[in-house]
Amino acid sequence: MIQLEDVWRIFRVGEGEVHALKRVSLTIKRGEHVALVGPSGSGKSTLLHIVGCLDRPTKGRYLLEGREVGTLSEEERSLIRRHRIGFVFQFFHLLPRLSALANVELPMLFAGTPPEERRERAAQTLKAVGLSHRATHRPDQLSGGERQRVAIARAVVMDPAVLLADEPTGNLDRASAGEVMELIERMNARGLTLVVVTHDPAIAERAKRVIRMDDGELVGGSA
């Protein structure tokens, strides 16, 4: 479902070039749970951004669900992000002025979903992450774990094919981290493809497959 073929990502920095990704070839099947690990600056976030259509490969091919997406227009890539990809970030990135419910509604807002349907689906998804009782609370009234669960609800409310999590537990205590991981693993068990970037070995161990990166390259034969 996710297929990268000899992908390079090269940043121009001043006069020089930084090779954030080199020769990355990778296949992730539908429903897999993959952990992407490696030291800081190893290129794992860059890889995640390319997989999430936020960034484009400098060279190489990227096929999502059999479709070449690296060369699509920004407009079409927005639609892929909207419908096929869910993001979870280390710092949650909830909009502080909106309630938990409204935050979950946000992707549907831009999709033009009618208000009643939007509210309904957001409420259901909040229920699925166990936060129905927090629906009207704003992010600053929620704990870290709760915020991340709201963010997860927002990521999956459009029913994407793949959930990309960038250090989802990096800002949480151990108990909350456990809850959050259990939640996304439950979703994975129901068929959602899961890619988690982490440098926490405990989190990485939970994945069925671990992809190690160093200096922009995949390490070992895990690909």
Binding site: H49, G52, L54, D55, E74, E75, S78, L79, I80, R81, R82, H83, F87, F89, F91, H93, L95, P96, R97, L98, L106, P107, L109, F110, A111, G112, P114, P115, R154, M158
Partner: protein, 398 residues
Amino acid sequence: MRFWDLLAFAAGALRGHRLRTALSVTGVAVGISAVVALTALGEGARRYVVDQFAALGSNLLVVLPGKVETTGGPPFGGVTHDLTLDDYRAIARLQRVRRSAPLAVATDTVHFKDRGRAVPVLGTTADFAAVRRLAIGSGKFLPPGDPDQGGSEIVLGVTVAQELFRNENPLGQIVRVGPWRFRVVGVLAPRGRSLTFNMDDLVLIPVRTAMRVFNRSSLFRILVDVRMRDEMSLTRRDVEKLMAERHRVEDVTVITQDALLSAFSSILNALTLALVGIASVSLAVAGVGIMNVMLVSVTERRAEIGLLKALGAQDRQVLAAFLAEAVLLATGGGVAGLALGAGAIRAFVGIYPNFPASPPLWAVAAALALSFAVGVGFGVWPARRATRLDPVAALAKR
């Protein structure tokens, strides 16, 4: 994205920064209220002048001696023929003229007992009241009859009557103008200033008597009331032709009110435009204020913009969201400015009740359209910056 969702999203973002929002709304409000108030004043001035002309009698032609009127010079040029009472009679007999009134003018002191008041003394006939739409407060106007019969009646303006007679009834009393004695037959109703003369502060006597009192052979003006409004220029030509025949040379000037009116009108329109131009400067300043606020907002909300893109918001949706914010700020200011301007006009009218200041409808519509345009115009650039933001970089920072 639905339109109302877009507006609600933008409004929500603005509510997040109440003070900043209020200040930029105020900026636009000041600009718009200035535009509205100043157009109202300009328009009021124009209407004031038009009203004054209407009060003068809207079908009025004015005949004056001399081909070109030179203001500020001696009123009677030596090279031209006098305007005589015979001229007046000839004009009054013209087909298209409803009525006409001769006018001889000088300033003299009117005495009653030991009190005196220097006022314009107008010599004319009974028709003057109708030509100039004058109403009588008490008594009668000058008696009709042959203008060459100089009587000794006098009609007082209301201020003159009050000043000279205080609490006494002036009717039937004798007043003096120089050595001449006049019997008061009437007092005008209050009228106020009407462009040329303050109708409250003058006296009227029969024209023949006036010419004798002033020792003049020429009239100051002949006023002509035309029957039909659309025969003004025809009548004007009639009068010019008649006078050319009578004097064997074209030596009179005939002014229509329309000519004066359109001259005044174009001057006042220019004035209004100038005022609006000045007010627009403050609107432009307010627009730059909005741009500034939106730029700050875009910089502050990098993470939000990155997130919206990650959630699948298209560039044009991000653009629309930020543009909607700018437009909301501006039109909010526009509406507030209209209210503010209306308040200012009301206050002004409270102080000067006679001044017909009210914003013309087009100005209200234009003000709203203008505020919308300011929002779009000054919001586009910040909004475009928002769409150009790289989501990866925007999300990387907390």
